[in-house]
Amino acid sequence: MNQFQYVRASKPQAAIDVVAKDPTAKFIAGGTNLVDLMKRGVMTPQKLVDINRLPLAKIESQHNGLRIGALALNSTVANDAQVRAKQPLLALALNAGASPQLRNMATVGGNMLQRTRCSYFYDLAMPCNKREPGTGCGALEGINRMHAIFGASSTCIAVHPSDMSVALVALDATVLISGPKGERRLAFGDFHRLPGDTPERDSNLEAGELITAVEIPDNAFTKHVHYQKVRERASYAFALVSAAVALDIENNTIKAARLAFGSVAHKPWRLTAAEQALVGQPATEASFRRAAEVAMQGAKAFKHNAYKLKLAPNTLVQALKTASAA
């Protein structure tokens, strides 16, 4: 790990100024991904701006919604009474991630910004366009069992591993950002990028921009929700495939639905067409299967991840069954 300058920020604007002016500087909050990547030499910031003391950790109800500070810890958010009452899907997704220790360190902002766990990205001896643009994609013809089935490009087939983000994209969250040019808001679905020709860019944050909070509008999804995470171990492992579902059911008819897949693409994968296929339908397995079929349109597998073509729709159906029975 290279030497770096370490400074502690006490005001957001000061932190932003440093990082905006210095392309080799990075914010550090929980560090659970950044420290890992620095140990492996995958990321080599020359300066770290510790933002842990910034006043950005509050969770509060506001007009028609919940505002969660970017520095709120994953475990704090998952245990928060307001979150559990108003957005239980978020709590479920958070608790499905990592381990209790990591959830006590990881922040909301850090969770969104965590990078792929693709082993070619991690291995400095392997080609990786995300890590070193122009070197190629080792996973394309390599071992790609954990990789994307949606939205991939020939430059990168990595997936975004966050569980929390799958729930947030399903819940139509908004990301609040503070930067050198001021404040802005970004729909959660527009925060993460597709790889396209620029896989080195995970998100649409500009240089020096700092996530300050996430807002989730109040909704009717307080009962029939489920986060289904399929992985090779019962716990503490990244998903092969995951599904976040939320249903508003009245008289066994689906009034509204939110669906999203995790670990199938470079970004959390909202399933708008499948949601529409559910609205007005009875909450039955037949409806769920039809929605799953719609959800899988456009899916494309690689040599080792064709199992996801079956696993993903089955996971979605399973999640829907569990959610509707709640």
Binding site: M1, N2, Q3, K39, G41, A125
Partner: protein, 500 residues
């Protein structure tokens, strides 16, 4: 003095429990020595070829770096004398890897450099600054692709009675001409030991000819022998301390390149050197249960008497060392069969050498044999337990000797009773419980319980306490506690007065 077994077989809290639950147990990277330095290894990024150049200048200039050792500047290790008469063969034929010995790369992540610095962070950083260039050669790491080059291990060539030699009773491959037969292939991948403690060593040259190692090893005597040989030292000049070992499961039963590297590094800087492998390195340079491809052919009479078994096994090994294990031992003695053929072969691949892992050999072979037994039982429409009982050996068919004791039948009965084996349905997939398919299965394993002599020194103190000392290790099974129980019963002294 014989006393009633009060403690042997009974329960006793582990004698090292207090140390383990308070963080007081010291493992090999946890000793404080003045002037301690830190070692970090750099591994090759090709599996086969030669290092054509290695640039260590930036690493050497990095803060805190005391030495950077490669094949270009490594001190001559006396025990690394050239072997083999053929100069074109790697100098490491038939033995452990000789680290930093020459420019040859024999497996991916082979240690090609050691950085020694005054802090771990400085050593780790400097290691990243080292750049190697290679003349890469085509590597072969696919066992099945190399099957045609599989060979009989040297020890079998030299000794036809070796457990690795081909075995034959009755007619070779007799199953082939039978009407009721199965023929199946079984593959196991490499299996890593992955103990919680990453391999660690603290090497300290207390004098130019006196070496002390705090080493993660399962055999302190073996490690002592290895390093005495490596440095041409009398064994009594080498001290090996392994008071606590954080799991090993077999991977600390061999001396590995990182140990040699640490000893070399400590000699070069003339200060104690601490080296802990990374978790990634635990997958590449401390052994593993080898990938093994097996073929089993079996035939039986319609009433379930086995007439022939053929069991072939090809396991991988490195190009520089032959690793063998008793994969086919169980097949030769477990079931009656007038015709039995076993053939054990090795495939030398561009990998690091495997090592014994939890029931090495027999576990691998049992998987194939027992699966084959189940498949044969299925063909015969016989209950798998009944099939095994019909082919039960009352004496060792390989050595033609009665067993000293064999209680397998009793085990079968006990096990069958306890899990309700009689409820088993012959047809697979016949029982459902919600989303789950339920079934009963069985397998038999065997492993050699070899015994040898051991030396323990005992001191009876004036206060009636006993101190026992033995150069053994405890990787977790509770050796210290078991020995205390044995001593307590043998000497008739309370365990709380015994220190092992």
């Amino acid at each position: 003095m014989k006393t009633q077994d009060k403690h042997i077989g009974g329960s006793m809290s582990r004698v090292d429990g207090y140390l383990k639950v308070t963080g007081g147990a010291r493992y090999s990277a946890e000793y404080e020595l003045p002037g301690m330095t830190y070692g970090v290894l750099v591994g090759s990024t090709i599996a086969k070829g030669r290092i054509t150049s290695i640039d260590t200048k930036a690493a050497e200039r990095a803060p805190g770096v005391l030495a950077v050792i490669t094949h270009l500047n490594s001190p001559k290790v006396p025990g690394f004398k050239p072997t083999g008469k053929d100069p074109s063969q790697p100098q490491t034929v038939g033995g452990p890897l000789k680290v930093f010995h020459d420019e040859k790369v024999l497996f991916n992540d082979q240690p090609i450099a050691l950085v020694v610095a005054d802090t771990f962070e400085r050593a780790r950083h400097a290691a990243r600054l080292i750049k190697a260039q290679y003349a890469k050669e085509t590597h072969q790491t696919d066992l099945e692709a190399s099957a045609t080059q599989a060979f009989l291990p040297t020890q079998a060539k030299k000794n036809p009675k070796s457990p690795m030699a081909d075995y034959q009773r009755g007619q070779a491959d007799a199953y082939k001409s039978a009407s009721l037969k199965i023929e199946q292939e079984y593959v196991i991948p490499n299996e890593m030991h992955s103990p919680m403690e990453m391999q660690s060593i603290t090497a300290h040259w207390e004098a130019p000819d006196r070496l002390t190692l705090y080493d993660k090893t399962q055999g302190t005597m073996g490690t002592r022998r290895d390093f005495a040989k490596e440095w041409n030292l009398p064994e009594e000049n080498v001290k090996v301390i392994a008071t606590f070992v954080g799991g090993a499961f077999g991977n600390a039963l061999h001396s590995w390149p990182h140990e040699s590297a640490a000893v070399i590094g400590a000699k070069v800087v003339n200060r104690p050197l601490k080296l802990m492998l990374t978790r990634e390195q635990m997958f590449t340079m401390v052994g593993y249960r080898p990938y093994t491809w097996q073929k089993v052919g079996m035939s039986a009479t319609p009433d379930g008497k086995i007439t022939a078994i053929s069991h072939d096994s090809i396991g991988q090994t490195s190009t520089y060392e032959e690793f063998t294990e008793s994969t086919l031992a169980q097949t030769r003695m477990m079931y009656t069969s007038p015709n039995l053929t076993t053939r054990y072969r090795l495939a030398a691949l561009d990998v690091s050498t495997p090592i014994w892992m939890r029931g090495p050999g027999e576990a691998t072979g049992a998987f194939a044999l027992e699966s084959a037994m189940d498949e044969m039982a299925h063909l015969l429409k016989l209950d798998p337990l009944e099939f095994r009982l019909r082919n039960y050996t009352d004496q060792d068919p390989e050595k033609n000797r009665p067993w000293s004791t064999k209680f397998l039948k009793e085990c079968y009965q006990l096990g069958a009773d306890r899990i309700g084996w009689k409820n088993r349905k012959l047809e697979p997939g016949a029982v459902r419980e919600g989303d789950w398919l339920l079934g009963y299965g069985m397998g038999v394993g065997t492993f050699g319980a070899h015994r040898g002599s051991a030396h323990v020194s005992a001191q009876l103190l004036p206060n009636g306490h006993v101190v026992l000392q033995c150069a053994t290790t405890d990787i977790g099974p509770g050796t210290g506690t078991a020995m205390t129980q044995i001593a307590a019963d043998t000497l008739g002294i309370d365990p709380s007065h015994i220190t092992f």
